[in-house]
């Protein structure tokens, strides 16, 4: 077709304009944030600017070439196999673009993995296909656990020999509650397969890996009730593995916490003795969570 160049030029311009227009007016964008990780959102927007400029420039340049250098019988292309100066310039510019994006990315990651001193702790435990939560109780320390200790009464596998664990507050089949404005380190643990704890409004996620304890930290910044979803394929019920997190004022949070049962209460109700489990290697829930002792 003789006038194909018109069609292709218009198509390339339309793809460029259409993509930008879709980006600007699309109704689908980040769900409003409810944590301290706004810097991650900012880095994404910055990345959009840098890469968006490159995308537009390349596509429009292609459209220009298709139009300007369309086939003409008897015409010859220009012979210039290399242009080192141009290639060096383009490399340097690309390198600068990469640094502009990478620097804030690494900065944000450093914040992401560095838990502030004195952050609260709560443990999230995943299993096919439900969520359970454990709070450290009055002493502020989570007791040690092991998957080998799990049975029908001790569903978290808490070490009954460990005094720190007796006052731990256990939540099964119910909501997670977090107080507004307090940094919290969320320790993540699974007893069967990989899971992933994610609240879209919090922006922070991490896989939960059986045999080890992982973590994220965040500060809830908005009161509300948000969905918790599993974000790592965990079998046939993956899409149904959901829960909710309630972010509330400190007073409401404390009132809710008072109503919950401790590990010692639950075991007493089941008629089980404490301080009697076998000696096993236990997870330590330390700050080195990711490398903490594997249970066995």
């Amino acid at each position: 077709m003789k006038n194909m160049w018109i069609v292709v030029t218009i198509a390339l311009v339309l793809v460029t304009v259409g993509t930008v227009a879709f980006h600007i007016w699309s109704p689908w964008w980040f769900t409003p944030i409810a944590s301290n990780w706004g810097f991650i959102d900012d880095t994404i927007v910055l990345t959009f600017w840098v890469t968006g400029v490159v995308f537009i420039a390349i596509l429009l340049f292609m459209a220009y070439c298709v139009m300007r250098f369309r086939y003409k019988e008897g015409h010859r292309s220009e012979y210039e196999p290399e242009n080192t100066k141009l290639e060096v310039w383009l490399s340097v510019l690309t390198g600068i673009g990469v640094v502009i994006m990478l620097a804030p990315g690494l900065f944000a990651w450093n914040q992401f993995i560095t838990v502030p001193e004195g952050a609260d702790r709560v443990e999230v435990m995943g299993q096919q296909w439900q969520w359970s939560y454990r709070y450290p109780g009055a002493d502020g320390v989570l007791g040690t656990t092991s998957a080998t200790l799990i049975d029908e009464d001790n569903t978290f596998g808490v070490n009954t020999n460990d005094a720190n664990g007796l006052d731990d507050i256990l939540i099964e089949g119910d909501e997670l509650h977090l107080p507004l404005g307090r940094p919290v380190k969320i320790l993540l643990r699974s007893i069967d397969v990989l899971h992933d704890f994610y609240v879209p409004q919090f922006r922070a996620k991490m896989d939960m890996v059986p045999g080890t304890v992982t973590y994220i930290w965040l500060t809830p910044t908005r009161i509300g009730t948000f969905d918790i979803l599993c974000f790592e394929l965990c079998g046939i019920g993956h899409y149904n593995m959901r829960s909710t997190v309630v972010v509330e004022e400190e007073a409401d949070y404390q009132a809710w916490l008072q109503e919950q049962s401790t590990f010692a209460e639950i075991m007493a109700e089941a008629g089980r003795n404490l301080g009697s489990n076998a000696d096993v290697r236990l997870s330590e829930n330390t700050d080195l969570s990711v490398t903490s002792t594997v249970t066995q």
């Binding site: 596509l59 070439c65 369309r70 220009e78 290639e87 450093n110 397969v193 149904n240």
Partner: protein, 601 residues
């Protein structure tokens, strides 16, 4: 340094050092066309098998799109089916279609022809390679018919779930999947060693490495990557098979499954992820590098202009290939591995953007000041650049560690990798098939059908995958059988999903037109003229079209210049084939002169 690309350095043509090795001459129909040792026949066998299994993958994608687009409508698709569909779709498309087609298909056809060899150096092993690949495909298909069906563990096959009862196909399906992968790797290794040795040892006189067409460079580097990367997947597959069948615990820690203590303990699920992605990331480039190489040649031929910055293009291929081995853990930022790795892998990942961007610049700079013919292969090449740039820049989001955290495991990831390693390489596959169709069959494809195929595929694929990124921003997870009720996903997202499904079905239909076009044109197409695109590379200079047994006539061609002699000032034609003797190049009948504009130092 300019001597390496200077087109006229005919002193590089040395006298033949060794006698030609006698070829295997097939006599019966069976040895010619079934158990064939001719790389061209093996290439067709690979391509047909890969396309056939690719259609299975395509149909699976329709089924999963039906579920996503109309979740309440298709009651015959349950969660088990859905997870089996996504798993097999991913595995088929990445391994059994793209890897097999680029290396087994294009590699076999193009390597001997483009470097001026009569065949691969190990034809018998080459034949075995195909038959083992076919066996791998059959074992994969067999998993549909075992109790429990094929595995639904996701194409990443992460343990522990891949071999536990909560995942579909955890009895027979996963074992057949692992066995099939192991077979594929064995078959590929046979072919791959062949491609590498052939490129290094069997190039004709004058075909220096720095005169090779970029198609061959892309296939060559990809093959080296595959030979180094696939063993990691192989050992991972063997270890997981042991965990499942023999009760070892390579990847299995203490597990309480549905209130029952299992007999496992002490293993690491993350170890499997390291093995998988040590293979899996180079795999992206095993698919991408042949596409990079081939599209470079298509753009150059159809722009009637030399590739811009040939040496840079070669070193970018090699550099990307090398870097691809030190970026794998960017797939694992939220896997629970030691978070300090994040700094290293984010840095290496973003560094890859530099050579990759340079390739894009050089493709567009090849168009610049060219004489662009908007043939079907050229249209696909332009569409490749568009989708590759789009999919490449979203890689900068996912590679940048902290930015990846909210996007990981969302539809953004699905959109990204489909755009960059699904749509973009497939557009090159289509362009390449149209480009070489006249060579393989001696006939021309139907232009109208090809135009239809191009526009529906390009615009359709873009309409499918561009909006999916934005569902990812919203927080829509991947691998969800159904979204159900959430507080953060608006109704409009379901509408978008229905739209995407409809477009996907239309794009799928266009592929049937493509297949019909090829099938019909093979026997009924117009007889093509020789070298219809006026290309310089050796495969178009064979005495017979399609090339016969042994590819070239009595004498192997001698190469006098690089593969991109288009628009040479003063030359008789606007292209000079690689094997045209220097004294037949110039319009005035004189010898070739040093071309005027030399690359700056």
């Amino acid at each position: 340094m300019s001597t390496t690309t200077a087109p006229a350095d005919s002193d590089l043509v040395r006298p033949a050092e060794v006698e030609e090795v006698e070829l295997y001459h097939a006599k019966s129909f069976i040895t010619k066309y079934i158990f064939s040792q001719d790389a061209k026949v093996i290439a067709i066998q690979y391509s047909v098998t890969a396309t056939a299994i690719g259609f299975v993958g395509l149909v699976l994608s329709w089924l999963m799109r039906l579920q996503l687009g109309f979740p309440d409508f298709f009651s015959f698709i349950d969660a088990t089916d859905y997870y089996q569909f996504i798993t097999l779709h991913g595995m088929i498309m990445v391994i059994y279609l793209l890897t097999a087609l680029f290396l087994g298909g294009f590699g076999n056809y193009l390597i001997p022809l483009m470097i001026g060899a009569r065949d691969m150096v190990f034809p018998y092993v080459n034949m075995l390679s195909y038959w083992i690949y076919l066996l791998a495909v059959l074992v994969l298909l067999a998993s549909f018919f075992v109790p429990g069906g094929p595995t639904g563990a996701g194409w990443t096959l992460y343990p522990p779930q891949a071999i536990l009862s909560g995942t579909p196909g955890s009895e027979g399906g996963i074992i057949l999947m692992l066995v099939s992968l192991a077979l594929f790797i064995i078959g590929f290794t046979m072919g791959g060693l062949n491609y590498v040795v052939t490129v290094l040892q069997a190039r004709t006189r004058g075909m220096t490495l720095m005169r090779m067409p970029l198609s061959i460079w892309g296939i060559f580097v990809a093959t080296v990557l595959a030979l180094l990367a696939f063993p990691a997947l192989f050992v991972g597959a063997v270890m997981m098979t042991f965990d499942s069948l023999l009760g070892t615990s390579f990847f299995m820690p203490v597990i309480v499954e549905f209130n029952e203590q299992l007999e496992y303990g002490g293993g690491s699920p993350i170890l499997f992820q390291h093995l998988f992605w040590f293979f899996g990331h180079p795999e992206v480039y095993i698919v991408a590098l042949p596409a990079f190489g081939i599209v470079s040649d298509l753009i150059s031929v159809h722009s009637r202009r030399h590739i811009f910055g040939y040496r840079m293009m070669v070193w970018a291929l090699v550099g990307i290939g090398a870097l691809s081995f030190v970026v794998w853990a960017h797939h694992m930022y939220v896997s629970g591995m030691n978070p300090w790795f994040g700094f290293f892998f984010a840095t290496t990942t973003l560094i890859i953007a530099v050579p990759t961007a340079l390739k894009v610049y050089n493709w567009t700079l090849t168009l610049w000041k060219g004489n662009i013919r908007l043939t079907i292969p050229m249209l696909f090449s332009l569409a490749f650049i568009v989708t590759f740039v789009n999919g490449g820049i979203t890689g900068l989001f996912l590679g940048n560690v902290a930015v990846d955290v909210p996007l990981s495991d969302t539809m953004f990831v699905v959109a990204h990798f489909h755009m960059v390693m699904g749509v973009a390489p497939l557009l090159v596959v289509f362009g390449a098939i149209y480009h070489w169709f006249p060579l393989v069959t001696g006939r021309m494809f139907h232009q109208g059908m090809a135009q239809f195929h191009f526009w529906v595929t390009f615009i359709g694929a873009y309409l499918i995958f561009l909006p999916l990124h934005y569902l990812g921003f919203l927080g829509v997870p991947r691998r969800y059988f159904e979204m159900g009720d959430t507080s953060f996903i608006p109704e409009s997202a379901a509408t978008l999903n229905s739209f995407v499904t409809i477009v996907a079905l239309i794009v799928g239909f266009a592929q049937l037109v493509f297949i019909y076009n090829l099938a019909r044109s093979t026997t009924k197409g117009k007889i093509s003229e020789r070298n219809p695109w006026q290309a310089t590379t050796l495969e178009w200079q064979t005495p017979q079209v399609p090339p016969g047994h042994g590819n070239f006539g009595a004498e192997l061609p001698v190469v006098y210049r690089w593969a991109y002699e288009y628009g040479l000032p003063g030359a008789r034609d606007d292209f000079v084939p690689q094997n045209t003797p220097p004294d037949q190049v110039m319009a005035d009948g004189g010898g070739e002169v040093e071309p005027s504009p030399q690359p700056a130092e």
